[in-house]
Amino acid sequence: MLNPTQLEISRRNLLITSAAAAAATSALPLSAAAQTSPTETKLISTVAFAVNGERRELNVDNRTTLLDALREHLHLTGTKKGCDHGQCGACTVMVDGRRINACLTLAVMHEGDEITTIEGLGQPGNLHPMQAAFVKHDGFQCGYCTPGQICSSVAVLEEIKANIPSHVTTNLTAPAAASAEEIRERMSGNICRCGAYSNIVDAITDVAGTRA
């Protein structure tokens, strides 16, 4: 998975082609690296990644976000486009186990990655515990932010389990707790304009096995 530093390097290297640059971009998928030519613009790339455990290979416009690759190419429209620039969280998916905004990352950056979307968590009749808790606590109204809220919720509990601190964690030496305050802080990148927050926290707390 790319981290911001690698992303910065890859951006710079899109503009130059040299042996040194090629070495520096060895973390990049071959198909993306191959297109960086100063004289020719190749607009379409091939990228392959796993979505919900299934390997998918796509030819995408290089500008295609992971979000649009999922929605427009794979027709996995459970992942929502609310703002398309990282402000609302409706597009939250998990890449290699970590939640990200699918609108802020290009599909071609995900060669070989494992992507989990809402469709991979559970299906009607076979809901993931978090999906079932959202239904039970009515953690949504219009439902448009809901897949993002649920993907975020699942990842938040994993982050707490992994003892990753947040802005509101007061004691860095004690194990992180799935308190209402921690959940609210960690979920604040997922906007719900219908205002189901109180119910969403109840749902997450229910799954976490603690009380708000």
Binding site: G82, C83, D84, E119, P124, L127, G143, Y144, T146, Y197
Partner: protein, 732 residues
Amino acid sequence: MKFDTPATTNPIDQMKVVGKPIPRIDGDLKVTGRAKYAYEWHDASTPYAYGYPVGASIARGRIRSMDIAAAEKAPGVLAVVTTLAVGERKKGKFNTAKLFGGDEVQHYHQAIAVVVAENFEQARAAAALVKVDYAEEKGAFDLKEAMKTAEKPADSQQPDTSVGDFDATFGSAAITLDEAYSTPDQSHAMMEPNASIAAWDGDNVTVWTSSQMIDWWRADLATTLDIDKEKIHLMSPFIGGGFGGKLFLRSDAVLAVLGAQAAKRPVKVALPRPFMINNTTHRPATIQRIRIGAERDGKITAIAHESWSGDQPGGQLEAAVAQTRLLYAGANRMTAMRLATLNLPEGNAMRAPGEAPGLMALEIAMDEMAEKLGLDPIEFRILNDTQVDPEKPERPFSHRNLIGCLKLGAETFGWSSRGKPGARREGNWLIGQGVAVAFRNNMMLPSGARVRLDRQGIATVETDMTDIGTGSYTIIAQTAAEMLGLPMDRVAVQLGDSRFPVSAGSGGQFGANSSTSGVYAACVKLREAVAAKLGFNSDDVVFENGEVRSGNRSVPLTEAVGDEGLVGEDTMTWGDLTQTHQQSTFGAHFVEVGVDVATGESRVRRMLAVCAAGRILNPITARSQVIGAMTMGVGGALSEELAVDTRRGFFVNHDLAGYEVAVHADIPHQDVIFMDETDPMSSPMKAKGVGELGLCGVSAAIANAIYNASGVRVRHYPLTLDKLIGNLPDVA
């Protein structure tokens, strides 16, 4: 069916299904990502193309010319449709500003072109290549300036009312208040952007869109495109929030239809988030003046509420004085609203239009007045309760238990622990409590439905009603289940399709009561058809446990309807009970806040709403509407404000980072109590609306709590820290 006499006992009163906390029947689809929203309809054999809009970059003027050569030559581009090429179009009945067509620019980001390409990225890139030559004109963008020349609008907008002699009574009142308040422009900011797919088939067009009001959209789309309404098929079964932002036809639908015509392909158009706020509508800002005069015993003798708002030429008032005409007693009263011409984007309905901004002001004024009188704010409101329309005392309220809401809320919330302003402090936090009244009228619109009962014993309800998150699917199923004596899993509901009977739609908190009443009427027809087929006397027929019974005869419904099944269809229409009786919904909001003594940052710590809104059809979905409204009220109190660039004439913070709605970290656990009541004047459901009531008064309760916490009175929303910090108590 016409509802023109108060409801008596009917099958809904059994409350075996209606009124029960049944989880949403569309819940599994939504939590698994299977609910299909407008932009998501997909047919593998259809070669969809993508449209990307271009918006005007001036606020007012004319387009001299558009250079689309580069865009047309860009990779993947199939068509570029410009506002100049399509020319002037008729405007939809419900639109104030035009959506597309002609050379006039009426507001910033008005749609002026749509670029259609093979893929989204190509369309977006090509849209940036369109060059426009404008003849810019000066405009008015500042309400404070424009209010000086504001005018009284047509009587149809009910700008003025007056009873008794306000001026004389106010002049001689023992205790008086005369203050100015303001509320900013606000944005609906629903999570699903306005989006449409249009597909032509000959001269018929199908549009998958995101609409609260199917029939209004269909009619206005027909007008705008100058085609026969019958040739338009509209689909909107799932809507990602609306709050009024999807009441009226929007540009995405028009651009998709025109783009599809030009490209000869089905076309998808979603409004980009940063385009939505200036392209679509918003809740207009208001400047309000409130005067209250009372005797020393706390009885209001004179009350006046004036409001100024702006809109595009030909636009409408933000009716911020509406509740003041009905909420409190007082023999001498006046209200007045004036409309300024502004060249900002179109102002229009947003959740609880009128009452939401009106109560933001009025309920601060009531808090201030109570303090002047030395009365508890709850006691002051109870003293001035009225059981009749105070402007027309011959009109009683159909049912009004505002006092019950206030008393139960005070007891539940622990109101008696509230201290004097600035008196309670915990560490750096100044703690305070506030209360405000919620009030919103109960409106009804005609609403139709068709109910089919097949030989498997499954009832299918079809209506063009929409579910914008409110729970329409579920309460409609509950209604049909109750009427037909079926369990919930024997009822299917299909919504949001223009081929179905025309319903009330979703808005003005009229949706739940109106649409379930329409389903009630259709079920009555179906029950009659079943009884007639069996030769039963329909007066004593009972539908229960999947059977229909009359006297000692009973027949399973599966058998009764026969192989062909039976259908009932009807439309509920309304008599004059809303004229003879004032029908409203009531509530009380209680809020506890902390204000950081050093920074002036306000945090909401506790919230309670007590609502009196007739029969609650489903306490789960009704509660969700109310907590959602309370959440919107937190945004309205503390952060939501469209910032106007008064030189260039547009809303600057036109995305979700700049326009700050409440997020998880802003919202504490919320409590809601519904008063146990019915209102037989409202409908056979005996229900009223609740979704807008929940927003009314919330922001004022927060403002009052901030005053109680800090001793700083702020009358201009939002209550950001800069308005508090200069007057906070010493930190030490």
